[in-house]
Subunit: 404 residues, 2 copies
């Protein structure tokens, strides 16, 4: 490729990205509005949207305007034609979803995992699940825009290997992306479960209106995805937003990360169960048992819940102070148990931030429930479509045997 | 301006910005290297650099290469011609500096302030100091690239007004930018002292090599400037990086921000003095007295210092976990007293972060000492030159009476 055609390609990539993002943001838009919003000429808009319709990314929707002889045609993302794959591998289960371009889950499969399962076995099972689903749905490679993977961090994103994820010992330094790509015969985008969960909101949830937010996932661990001006921040070592490792208890318990008194040691499921059990021989109980005990009014469980909520409120206040988001979004396996306390949590956080922005404090529940990080994995594909549409479209064409 | 000339202007702005940033980053560079690094044609580079030399932003430096008949000419920022004004208004003093384009302070004036001084009086004094300095130096408006202001936050950057800065009561909701612009007869760029201090590093200090860092200023309060990929993050309410308001002591002292147990209540100068004095009637002592007492081995002062350092180490660890920077930079009026403890602080923080990135933990002292935020105020001007060079150059030309 010479310098000039490289430049023209860049311009086309950037124009396509602008058009797609505009349609994504506004949900539906006419060609005239696209001209106004993007500053591109109407000829360029006509050509680009024609390409996008042809490949199945956009559809036209005719509206009756009531004026004789006038028709108004809006463009929208086409949810019928192209699908995305989202794969979420967690510590206790994996989930595979197929979504459309607007983040609706069309099909999903979830399977339990045990700590004894080796990475190879897990990837074989994931691959088999995916093949079953795509066969059932009659999907061809040319129907698939791509695949994303969500898995516990920290990880090396460049190499696609995991580092030393807590409580996930058999995956240490495992080259998960390469191994999964070999099994599926396609490129995989990946990120950690907190960031993919945040990206699900960024593209299909609250992020359309609010480009600055903090996603907090609470479960076996506590993680965060920080989205600033629509970008999920990675940091210098891929560790931006390790909110579970904010120190909340000076001289507290030793954490997996090597430090003591991290929020995760207090507020994660294991943290709660450990504190509840402390000196009471209740180590083998589950989080269901704990909330049942709270419901029955067991004083030890009530005190443990109260301190869990108090530390959570104080840490969420810290998050407003360090990241200054439009809103906080809460999710993860623990969150459904805490959701009924959300009004109290909101009130306490409001009372703790700077008075002049109390009225702007917003804390919301995650939009995709138990499938949040699987939908988030699919949203990695959507994000690359928005940022580098030409690359995604060329990969799609090469699948169809038309050549790049 | 029609659409086409608007577009051409955008292209020129972006090309100039690329060229200037490349020269800034590499300190000195030949035209051939500029062509390679920017991808612009050699004709464009010749024209743009000619303009920049003519206006006094760049200078040529001839190097002997040892080859007969070959001369190698490097381009550098020209520190001789154009100057920048930095104004820092603090709670106890103000400082005015004149710097060159590489961040060297050529002249500075500092004056004490008392809490009784009204904003109007302070701005009158600032304005008089600045006029005296520029007259002494024989500077004309056409020698000045612009002026920046650093002042305690939080603030409304759009409107240029302060909000409710702690311990700075007479400035609440004061339209400081407009008032200062009226006195100086020029546009003012502003930001809070933690962010300007961070920007001093971004443009003239560590930031040239490390685009991700956290600047922490410790003094009457504790503030932070978070620089991610070279951008200082502002957040939704201008409150990104309020690191002084990380909760470090559950059920701790009430903070100015409305919350309890913030780092600032423990680790700022007033926080240390309060804790040292607690029950000992030492309220009127100063931070000099405190460190003298530490030196003399007074047990209460030693314990207070130890807990100050411990909380600081734990919070700096939290900062590595939430912002994942290349490095932390420490400054502010308290820091000179703590600098001798830096090796210990570094060791404790290293021992507390994830083992796999312990070797990457870096904590450094701020580059500009007591003038950090005044140099930072000047760096606001430098930043706008790098991002929007055409705007800055046009303002300069209109000062010279040549018209925009």
């Amino acid at each position: 490729m010479n310098a000039k055609s490289g430049y023209l390609r860049q311009v086309k990539q950037s124009n396509l990205s602008q058009v797609l993002k505009c349609i994504w943001r506004m949900e539906q838009v006419s060609r005239i509005e696209l001209v106004e919003k993007t500053g591109l000429t109407s000829g360029t808009i006509t050509n680009l949207t024609q390409d996008l319709i042809k490949v199945g990314l956009l559809r036209e929707e005719e509206l009756s305007t009531g004026h004789v002889g006038r028709r108004r045609v809006n463009l929208r993302l086409n949810p019928k034609r192209l699908k995305m794959i989202g794969i979420d591998i967690g510590r206790t289960s994996y989930e595979v979803v197929i979504t459309d371009l607007v983040g609706q889950t069309l099909r999903s499969t979830e399977r339990p995992l045990s700590a004894a399962d080796k990475p190879e076995q897990v990837l074989d099972a994931v691959s088999a699940s995916l093949k079953r689903i795509t066969a059932d749905m009659g999907l061809q490679p040319s129907d698939l825009l791509g695949a994303g993977l969500s898995i516990p961090g920290p990880m090396n994103l460049q190499e696609g290997t995991l580092l030393v994820p807590p409580n996930f010992a058999s995956w240490e330094y495992y080259p998960v992306r390469r191994e999964l790509e070999a099994r599926l015969g396609m490129d995989i985008l990946m990120n950690d479960d907190a960031r993919t969960s945040a990206l699900a909101e960024r593209w299909f949830g609250y992020g359309r209106k609010d480009p600055n937010f903090v996603y907090v996932t609470m479960g076996q661990g506590i993680g965060g995805g920080i989205v600033s001006d629509g970008e999920v921040l990675q940091g210098s070592n891929g560790l931006y937003g390790q909110v579970g490792h904010i120190t909340v208890m000076p001289d507290g318990e030793l954490c997996e990360c090597g430090n003591t008194g991290c929020w995760e040691t207090v507020g994660s499921i294991p943290g709660i169960l450990r504190r509840w059990a402390h000196g009471a021989g209740a180590e083998r109980k589950t989080i269901d048992d704990f909330f049942a005990a709270v419901k029955e009014g067991e004083p030890r469980a009530e005190r443990c819940l109260e301190s869990t909520l108090k530390v959570m409120e104080s840490t969420l206040t810290t998050l407003f102070n360090v990241y200054d988001p439009d809103l906080l979004i809460l999710g993860g396996k623990l969150y459904p148990y805490l959701q009924s306390y959300l009004p109290r949590i909101q009130n306490h956080v409001k009372a703790s931030v700077y008075p002049f922005f109390q009225h702007r404090v917003r804390i919301e529940s995650a939009s995709f429930g138990a499938s949040q990080s699987a939908v988030g994995a699919a949203s990695l594909v959507f994000g690359s479509l928005m940022e580098r549409p030409l690359d995604v479209l060329e990969a799609l064409r090469s699948d169809e045997g038309e050549g790049a």
